[in-house]
């Protein structure tokens, strides 16, 4: 018999999973918010701004993995959703764009 995954490896408590997803969502959104604000205040324009967005989210992913103790499988069902799940979601991207625009306008345009 080929070695298989131990039986318990796919048991997750739904409440805990949801809680973890909430935490990640919170981090992503607030990260986008802060990134948008700072990029706007720094006066970055053009596509470079999105680079900052990518960097911030890569940083968040890294920090989460650090917090999860190199074993994110214990907290999340899939690795890819942890890295990419919320990065391109509407909410965090829109939050970023909005705060970038607003802070840029307030500080630099007028």
């Amino acid at each position: 018999m080929a070695p298989q995954k131990p039986l318990g490896s796919d048991f997750y408590l739904p409440t805990s999973l949801r809680n973890n997803a909430d935490v990640i969502n919170f981090l992503r959104t607030s990260g986008s918010l802060v990134a948008g604000l700072s990029v706007g205040i720094l006066g970055v324009t053009g596509w470079i701004g999105f680079l900052y967005y990518a960097v911030v989210h890569a940083l968040i992913s890294g920090l989460v993995i650090l917090k999860a103790g190199h074993n994110p499988q214990q907290y999340f069902q899939s690795r890819s959703s942890l890295f990419l799940g919320d990065v391109f979601s509407q909410t965090s991207l829109l939050t970023f764009i909005l705060f970038w625009t607003v802070s840029h306008n307030f500080v630099h345009l007028f």
Partner: protein
């Protein structure tokens, strides 16, 4: 950043002080009010209905089939087959029967209550939005308010320069009405930071309405139950069954060997521990 050889506009500071700032604040406050009003409504108005055992049973059957699909690996072969037969056996299977549940369309025709309920829900979302839109276009229409800090293709002009018709204007400038829409969607994330799961998600509602089609007046929720039964039956027929306990004996032997080798440790089965909430 004067792309396409256009001159940068000089925007009056008064525009910022008397349009941008008040508009931002008022929209934020209005969204706040809407949030709280909806919360009150939701808590005071649990949806009730007449209990119909047949319909209820069909919903339960769907749920149970879903459960079987999810965790069938823990059943032995014969047990799984018996359950599958319960759902999809010819003539007697639960999914071969004609569902009692009426399709959403029929429900709408026959039951005026459903209609009014839906109207209320839709209007509840729509009215504050219309009011806000009206407010914005009444007080703040016609202003160029600022510019998006990244370049965009001209096709975004309709979206960004609503209410101002100036083809020679650079696309990245946006008007007050567009700014309102941007705020409406963009602030969702921020609200979720504040209210957590209770947030009224505007874009979610919009997407639902889009999906329903028919100009946003389509009925909420379930598609045609007969089709749902059919789909579920096919899904169960195609279901890839694999007993998860195959070869479990070796694993158990390994576990016991480990316990015999070392000190007995108390370990609970693996769960997903909670991260501290931020």
């Amino acid at each position: 950043m004067s792309s396409q050889g256009q001159m940068d506009l000089v925007l009056d500071r008064d525009v910022r002080d008397w349009v941008l700032v008040p508009l931002t604040i008022s929209i934020f406050l209005m969204m706040l009010i809407r949030q709280y009003v909806t919360q009150v409504f939701l808590s005071s108005n649990p949806s009730g209905g007449v209990f119909n055992p047949k319909e209820f049973r069909e919903k339960q059957i769907m749920a149970r089939a879903g459960l079987l699909k999810q965790t069938c690996g823990y059943l032995s072969d014969s047990a799984f087959k018996a359950r599958k037969a319960f759902f999809i056996a010819k003539d007697t299977g639960a999914f071969h029967k004609k569902p009692e549940q009426k399709s959403a369309q029929d429900q709408l025709m026959n039951n005026p209550d459903v209609m009014t309920d839906m109207m209320k829900k839709n209007l509840g979302g729509l009215v504050p939005q219309l009011a806000m839109g009206g407010f914005v276009s009444y007080f703040f229409s016609g202003f160029i308010m600022g510019r998006i800090p990244f370049p965009l293709s001209p096709s975004f002009r309709i979206m960004l320069q609503r209410g101002v018709d100036l083809p020679s204007l650079d696309v990245t400038y946006f008007t007050s009405l567009s700014y309102y829409i941007l705020l409406l969607f963009g602030l969702n994330g921020t609200f979720r930071l504040i209210f957590r799961e209770n947030t009224v998600d505007e874009s979610q509602m919009m997407r639902q309405q889009m999906a329903m089609g028919g100009g946003g007046m389509g009925p909420m929720g379930a598609p045609d139950p007969a089709k749902a039964f059919e789909a579920e039956r096919h899904a169960l027929e195609m279901l890839d069954y694999k007993w998860k306990l195959d070869g479990i004996e070796q694993q158990a032997a390994a576990v016991m060997q480990q316990q015999l080798g070392g000190q007995p440790k108390h370990q609970t089965p693996r769960k997903s521990p909670r991260l501290k909430s931020a």
